[in-house]
């Protein structure tokens, strides 16, 4: 039996690790297709979001703000704010994938969804001896069961969405999707504090033009999270 090719070993390891996320990505994409259609977008526009942006939470944010008739600039600023975390992903992967050619890094960047990042960061941590080619193969493997299915699920959702009657209360499917993303994100006291400030400020400032209150709330919440983190670390250090 010939020695297994390390590149393909890495690819299939990534593929296996990425496969369970299919269970999350498919319904989520379906829901985006439905939400986009319900909001009045046509098939090309819904698919445009999923193919050009390929970042679920920010796509939902953009569609919701468009339903609220927010100005174009507010839609963009708020949706991009949701994706700010990806700069952090990029910084974290840079030491591993930085030496790759630009076109490969562009592909890595395009497919940098939460799941692909989380898997890659964990794998590079546990197997630091990997070559650059193996790391890239693992990344491609992790993306393969997740990213293409995002497009397909969106398409099915957009196609089926128009046929779903209002009794199903799909107006509330989008809030439920957001709420379901918040729970797992509340990892520490600082996260809970940030989320609480975000809710309170957004509700208090709800009378402002669409999107404005949310932007202020998000800023206040980020500062809160960072400050609470510093405060908790100081308390720990003193003990």
């Amino acid at each position: 039996m010939p020695a297994p090719n390390p590149i393909s070993t890495a690819f299939w390891r990534g593929f296996r690790h990425g496969l369970p996320f299919l269970l999350v990505v498919a319904p989520f994409g379906l829901l985006f297709g439905v939400a986009g259609t319900e909001a009045g977008l046509n098939m090309a526009e819904v698919m445009g979001f999923s193919i050009l942006v390929i970042a679920g939470a920010s796509q939902f944010t953009a569609v919701q703000l468009m339903v609220d008739q927010a100005p174009v600039l507010m839609v963009l600023l708020t949706s991009l704010a949701v994706n700010l975390r990806m700069a952090m992903y990029s910084a974290s992967l840079a030491p591993h994938l930085g030496p790759a050619p630009s076109w490969q890094k562009a592909l890595v960047a395009y497919f940098m969804v939460d799941q692909a990042y989380a898997l890659a960061a964990a794998d590079y941590e546990t197997r630091p001896e990997q070559s650059l080619a193996e790391k890239l193969a693992y990344y491609a493997g992790a993306c393969a069961p997740v990213c293409p299915q995002w497009y397909v699920a969106t398409w099915i959702g957009a196609w089926a969405g128009a046929a779903i009657p209002p009794e199903f209360a799909l107006d509330f499917a989008v809030p439920i999707t957001f709420l379901a993303m918040i729970g797992p994100g509340l990892r520490s006291l600082a996260h809970v504090a940030a989320a609480s400030v975000s809710v309170v400020v957004a509700l208090v400032l709800a009378f402002l033009p669409a999107g404005t209150g949310l932007l202020i709330a998000a800023l206040a919440a980020m500062i809160t999270g960072a400050q609470v983190e510093i405060w908790v670390a100081r308390r720990r250090a003193m003990e």
Binding site: R85, A87, A169, I176
Partner: protein, 110 residues
């Protein structure tokens, strides 16, 4: 989506796509081992929990499906979703449980 022209919709899609790409490419593209300063990472860590709860809070309290009137079924569904997400640490379970609670609530309360 009556308030936007097709051009405006495509501006939103394309600009969001380009902006998101550059956020993802930012540090990878600049090569090297340059790390973000600790204070910047500290703020970035909180962006998802800073944006999403504020976005969703008014939608839960004043849902569009009821014309902005608070609705017990939707409030229950919202609470169940957050709770399930917290306990299971799994987005999908949160969505399924939330939708189940919503339909149960709508069926019970009407």
């Amino acid at each position: 989506m009556t308030g936007y022209s097709p051009l405006e919709i495509w501006i939103i899609i394309i600009a969001l796509g380009i902006g998101t790409f550059f956020l993802r490419y930012s540090f990878l593209g600049m090569i090297g081992k340059r790390q973000l300063p600790e204070w910047a990472l500290r703020y970035l860590r909180y962006t998802p929990v800073a944006v999403l709860p504020g976005l969703v809070a008014p939608l839960v309290l004043w849902p569009s499906g009821t014309g902005g009137e608070p609705d017990p079924a939707r409030l229950m569904a919202a609470a169940a979703t957050v709770l399930l997400g917290l306990v299971t640490r799994n987005t999908l379970f949160g969505i399924i449980g939330g939708l189940a609670t919503l339909y149960l609530g709508l069926w019970l309360v009407g």
